[in-house]
């Protein structure tokens, strides 16, 4: 599937003249005979781009990048996704070829391959691959699928989706970077989350505030009392604001008015909004849970 022209323009702007010429040659060779040239071009790209170019970071407006979410992508990653987008073939040959790339890939190639899921042709053929990638234990590979990737929310069934979301908490991902996190929220996920909350509470480990947000409409009494406890022990303004919003949504009476006011002042709570979540996301702290 061809990349959007704005994405290509962004890539071209990010490389030097020599690298641009090289990419042009690659494009020609891939379009002429990808089976002969692609593996070499794809693998050796990390040696063809200069050290300063390949690690440069790129951001784009989501409205400009369409089916990709390009936020802090290295030039190497974007260039490889671009090369992948040039391959065209009938279904079986195409799928077999791309599968072979996955089989022999190094870490950065895996990042590019999984980032490209949403621009590969024959999307239904990549669902199993996507699930396998989520089981991969290499942090940056997981991130390429879980964070800033529209493929999972558009193609995974509920069971696989829920596994992915739970895994993102277990592996300390920046969960608010999951595309479709709230749109695909569902009661079965909430049940699993509540179970996880109980386990964390019993183990005296901290509980990620976004877990509460995803399960907020399905919280039994025991969960609500844990939530109150967490709110009272909370010392962080953003986290406190999220927890307070969920308590309010659940009409928790046990939170006494007086206590609330003092906590409110102490924590400088702010009303729940998308902006609040954005701030929480951008804090970009690897929350150890």
């Amino acid at each position: 599937m061809n990349l959007n022209s704005k994405v290509i323009a962004q890539l071209i702007q990010s490389v030097n003249a020599e690298e641009r010429d090289y990419l042009n040659t690659c494009e020609k060779q891939i379009k002429e005979q990808y089976k002969t040239h692609f593996v070499r071009i794809f693998s050796t790209l990390s040696r063809k781009l200069s050290l300063s170019t390949k690690e440069k970071l790129i951001q784009m407006q989501v409205s400009d990048s369409e089916n990709l979410i390009i936020e802090d992508w290295t030039v190497l990653r974007l260039a490889r996704v671009y090369l992948l987008s040039l391959i065209q073939d009938e279904e079986e040959s195409y799928v077999q070829f791309i599968n072979q790339l996955f089989d022999y890939a190094d870490m950065q190639e895996l990042v590019a391959l999984y980032s490209a899921l949403n621009v590969l042709d024959y999307p239904s053929r990549w669902i199993e691959r996507c699930k396998e990638g989520i089981r991969n234990n290499i942090g940056l590979v997981q991130e390429a699928i879980i964070e800033q990737n529209k493929f999972p929310s558009e193609h995974l069934n509920e069971e696989a989706w829920n596994q992915m979301v739970l895994k993102s908490f277990f592996t300390s991902k920046n969960v608010l970077k999951i595309a479709g996190l709230f749109e695909r929220n569902n009661p079965n996920l909430a049940t699993a989350i509540v179970d996880y909350i109980y386990e964390r509470h019993s183990a005296k480990r901290n509980i990620h505030p976004i877990l509460w947000l995803l399960a907020k409409n399905n919280l039994p009494e025991r969960a609500l009392s844990i939530l109150s406890e967490q709110f009272h022990n909370c010392s962080d303004s953003l986290e406190g604001s999220i927890l307070f919003y969920i308590l309010e949504e659940n009409n928790v009476k046990s939170v006494e008015k007086e206590q609330l006011t003092s906590l409110n002042q102490e924590l400088a709570l702010i009303p729940f909004s998308e902006d609040l979540l954005e701030r929480f996301k951008n804090r970009n702290v690897c929350v150890q849970i």
Binding site: V39, S43, M107
Partner: protein, 315 residues
Amino acid sequence: MGQPMPLDLDIIKGMKFVDPHIHMVSRTTDDYQALFDAGVLLIIEPAFWVGQPRTGLDTFKDYYSSLIGWERFRASQFGIRHFCTIGLNSREANNEALADQVMEILPHFIYKEGVLGIGEIGFDDQTAAEEKYYRAQLELAKEANIPVQVHTPHRDKTKGTLRSMEIALEHGLDPQMVIIDHNSEETVKDVLDRGFWAAFTIYPFTKMGNERMVDIVKQYGSANIMVNSAADWGISDPLAVPKTAALMLQMGIDRKDVEKVTYTNALEAFKVANHLDLESLNQTLQADPLAKFQGNTILRGGQQPRLNKDSIIIS
């Protein structure tokens, strides 16, 4: 020789080391943390024998894949840059049916990120099959213009070492692209005289001891010489490189020579500058270069939390 001496690494505090031969797939997270603490910030893991015969091609494929994937990532979590060399080792060359298949998949791996060269290859029993695949892999290295890490045999070592070098020269390889490994007092002169890199494995009981290594550097100097641990699934010492550096300093070897033997020579021999900006070695590696640990430095110096080993409590 061999009298116990208390371990005091203060003398090497602040120094940086490379271990250019270590099999981390066989080692624990404790070893990674100890390596980091001792200043080993870059390691090279040659593909080797897993300890028992392989029965099919896929185990090679998965093993090579782990060297550029999981193991590389695991190392990064401890603040250590992991590189490897990929090859069919000599023992496994003797299963010709399988070796032929392995030769077909090698080109898929040698250009990958994190792969510095071909290794460890060479002779073990010094059979005809070992020679055949040694030659084939030298050709592969020549074509790709990447270094070769050559294992020399335990048995009939001197003859095997000389033969390894003769064959490399016969195939037109530049000796400066070849690291001859596991040298001893008996082989070092021949290797240096021919212009190859001479690596020494500090490995208890079976290979070099580090007191002997001190004498070698005193006699031959530091040019073209490097030390490694070759730590693996046997009784071996992943801290062999920093310990040897400490001993060399204690024994009066000049710091510049110690740095060459335990750091810069390995970087040069394996052409590491083609793969990363050597300046970056002055900064601690973060597993995720994009991670901004604002105000959160608990995981500084590698990203894995530390166990409190002095406590009976596990939480």
